[in-house]
Each structure stands twice: as C-alpha cells, then as structure tokens.
Amino acid sequence: MSVRIKKVKRRIQNKIREVSMKKVITGLHLFIFLIFPFTLYAGVPLTTVEGHVNKVLSVLRDPAMKGDSAKKAKKEKIRVISDKMFDFAELSKRTLGTSWKNFSPDQQREFIGLYKDILEGAYMDRIMTYKDEKIIFHKENMLSDDTAEVQSSIITKTVETPINYRVILKDGEWRVYDVVIEGVSLIKNYRTQFREILANKSPEELLKILRKKVSKA
C-alpha cells in the first residue's frame, strides 16, 4: 500500500514540476516576445501568405474597379502586392543554383528583373481571370529553421489544384521563393531550362534570350 501511495505522490510531484516548468517556459516566451516585438509582427508563414493572397483577391473582386479601364490599375495594385509577397532575389538565386556565381553582380541584378517580368507576364493574365475560384489554405510545414511550405488549394467548380508556397524568413518577414503547383516546383522547372541553355551558352547569352522574351510579351 505505502509503496503505491509513494508512487502516486511522486507522480503528483512530477506533474507539479512539469506544470511549473511549463509556466516558466511560457513566461520566458512571453518575455522574449515582449522584448522582440518584431517576431510577433512577422506572423506565421501561413497567415502571411494567406494575407497577401486575400489582398490580391480583394483587388480582383473590387466592385469599384470594373471594366477594361480599371484593368491597368488592378494590375498595378497586384504588382505592388506581389513585390511584397515574393522574394525575387532569393527566387532567382535558387533557380540558377550553382550557376549564380558565374553571373556578375550587374548580370545578377538584370537577371532578377527579367525573370520577374517573365513570371508576372505569364501569370498576371491568368490571375486576372479569377472570379469565383475559392482558395483554401490548409497548413504549413517547416522545411528548416527559416524556410516553410504553406499548402493551399485553388478550387473551381470542377477542378481542385494544390498550390504550395515555399517561404523564407528574412529580416523578420516571410516571403515566397518558390511555388509548387501539382508537385511541379517553379524554380526547379526553370532551373532545368536555364541549365540546358547555360550548358553551352554564356550568362550574357541567356540574358539576351530573356530580354527577347520580355520584349515580346
């Protein structure tokens, strides 16, 4: 009997210790958050991406902006949001991977700009057609200390397409560096294309191809 009581006592003591440890830990967390308010400001990856996407949707659904005349203004607004949402420098660097260092700083800068123009040119028109699509955010997975994957789906009447955003934490803000649609990573896809071009062409020649593509669009 007494052994049993002792066991129970010990268990209770352990529990109390655990609880107080938890209190200390939460207290510490609170303390840290109070000292570094910017960590709170950054928010979690999912809410950040969701916030940007919702902003884009509200621009698209804005009843005050209708007709072709408002189209330009809409595009401009979306561009401003996408600049905040995406980290085009990180996106470019990861796309080129090891080839990145073969580009001079000037070439890198130009590459980032052209790549951004290509992506915006390609996806802006499609985004502008969105009306009744529902976008649902599911969850986020941490990929490393400072990168995460936010999972979402875009749902039309008949088709559901999974879209995952990969985000990186920089200067207290989560920004998108890759978009994975149906398992196809945007930066991986471009990496394969650029790698084949760079296999027998110089960075300058790649930039020339990109310039041509941007000017055509």
């Binding site: 660097k93 090891t98 990145w100 088709v159 200067d171 196809v184 896809n189 394969t192 790698r195």
Partner: protein, 291 residues
C-alpha cells in the same frame, strides 16, 4: 506449331473481338496520355534518377561550400546563410529520342491549337461548366478499376477501400457517377493511381522520356503502364470500334474544355517550352509516385 497455337487462341477468344480490343487499347493509349499533355503534369522518380540526383547534390553541396566561403553581396546584406540545398537538385530524365520527341511536341502543339482547343471551346459554349463537370465525373467513375487494382498492387489498402466506397456511393447516390457525392459530402477525395505509378512504387525508373502523338509526354515505364491500364478501362470494351472511338474522343474534348488555359500558361511562362513540359512531367509523376 507456334503459329497453330496462336491461331487456336484467336479462335477461342473470338467472341471478345480481340482486334477491336487491341486497336481500341492502342487508341486509348494515345488519347488517354494526351490528358497528361493538357495538364502537362504527370511523372515519377527512378532509382537511376535518384542516383543522378544524389551525385549531383553532392557536387552542389561541395560547390555551395565554396560559395558560402565567399558569400555574395546579397547574402551578406540580408545576413542570411545560403540554405538552398534541398532545392538544388534537378529532376532529370534521359532523352535519347530527342529529335522524335521534339517533332511530336510540335505536332501536339499544333493539334491542340488548331483542332482540340477550338473544338473544346465550341463544346464549352454549348454545355455549361456544371454539365461538363458531371460528364468528367462519369468517365472518372468508370475508370475505378484502374485505381482500385493499382492501389492494391501498391498495398494501399485504404486507397483501395476508398475507391470501392467512392464507386458504390457515386454510382448510386451520385446517379451513375455524374455527381461526386463521395468527395462533396463524405470528404473522400480522389486519389489517382495507375500502373506507371505502381512500377515507380516498386523502384522502376522511367527509362527514358517519350512524347507520343496526341498522347503527349510519357516515359517508357509510364507507356507500358498505360497499355496495361487500358485493359481495365471499360470504355475500351465498347463495340463497335467507332463507338469506342467516339466515346473516347468526347471524353477527351470534355476534359480539355475544363482545362483550357493550362497548356497556354505553361507555354507562355516557359523560356524553353519543350524542356519545361518534360521537366513538369517528371516532377509531377514523381509527386504522384510518392503519394
């Protein structure tokens, strides 16, 4: 002797009209694969590819160590270490039939823009999206045997069970498969399995990339898978052959009508559309094998 036995075999299955089955099977093989093309998304990893990837990853790792020693301006500015290793790998597939594939890529491109797309657009003008969605559901329901058997082959008992539940519920409550009651109300989601994925599940690699006319992107492994799956598709057993072809073509047009814009987006975004589609195929199949 051999000749004789083959002959006997032919007579014994005469009632099944073997010629029709084989021809329609081949046609399905072409047409069905093209569904991959309009989505341009569908593929899987192979041992070989993984080997290539991991050796590449090592190289990249080494290269990255070098670059981290002399961090560039941007990385310094943001005070970030370079941490893109997991993103560094590329998905690769052998492409020994490059010339044929590229020719077929142009053929399919023209086929889509000159015939399939205008027909599908005319079709969507007549039938509202809801109707087309129901038709799509109907054909999807018919191909349950493919998904059921391949789930079993991959020992995915839950998926196999879900397929049965989905089939029973959607065929009855969903009125012959026109509605997807199982997804909408019971939250049993669609989960695609095919023979190519089953091969991939057991570690069989793509072999090489191949683009089929009408069918679009595929690989040696997935092409063999498509032939096998064609035998499980009830539409292929419809006789006479014209009816089978007509049904297959309608399914194709209906499916395309729900995906207009997808292919265009890929082409528009790509710097090298052929490479982009090939890579998207491999990445998408890889994801499906992993699921």
């Amino acid at each position: 002797m051999m000749h004789n036995s083959v002959f006997k075999g032919e007579y014994s299955i005469m009632k099944l009209k073997p010629f029709n089955i084989i021809v329609s099977g081949l046609v399905m093989f072409f047409l069905f694969g093209f569904a991959h093309a309009s989505l341009a998304l569908t593929p899987s990893s192979s041992d070989q590819n993984q080997e290539v990837e991991s050796s590449q990853e090592n190289e990249i790792l080494q290269a990255q160590e070098k670059t981290t020693q002399q961090p560039d301006e941007r990385a310094e500015k943001s005070g970030q270490k370079e941490k893109g290793i997991e993103e560094e790998e590329t998905t690769q597939i052998a492409d020994p039939l490059y010339i044929w594939n590229k020719g077929m890529y142009y053929f399919n491109d023209k086929f889509y823009f000159w015939l399939l797309k205008p027909v599908s657009q005319g079709y969507s003008a007549i039938f509202p999206e809801g109707v087309r969605g129901s038709i799509s559901n109907f054909f999807y329901n018919l191909t349950t045997p493919i998904r059921f058997l391949n789930s079993l082959l991959q020992l995915k008992m839950k998926s196999a069970g879900n397929e049965i539940v989905r089939f029973v519920v959607n065929s009855s409550v969903g009125v012959g498969g026109l509605g997807d009651f199982a997804k909408d109300k019971l939250d049993i989601k669609r989960h695609n399995e095919d023979l190519g994925q089953t091969f991939g599940y057991y570690g069989v690699g793509h072999g090489f990339y191949i683009t089929w006319p009408l069918l679009g992107p595929s690989s040696l492994r997935d092409s063999i898978g498509l032939i096998g799956d064609a035998f499980l598709n009830p539409v292929n057993y419809v006789t006479p052959l014209q009816d089978c072809l007509a049904i297959t073509a309608s399914d194709k047009v209906n499916d395309t009508s729900l995906h207009i814009g997808d292919y265009e987006d890929i082409i528009k975004a790509a710097v090298d559309p052929y490479v982009s589609i090939r890579d998207a195929y491999v990445q998408n199949r890889e994801k499906k094998v992993k699921e």
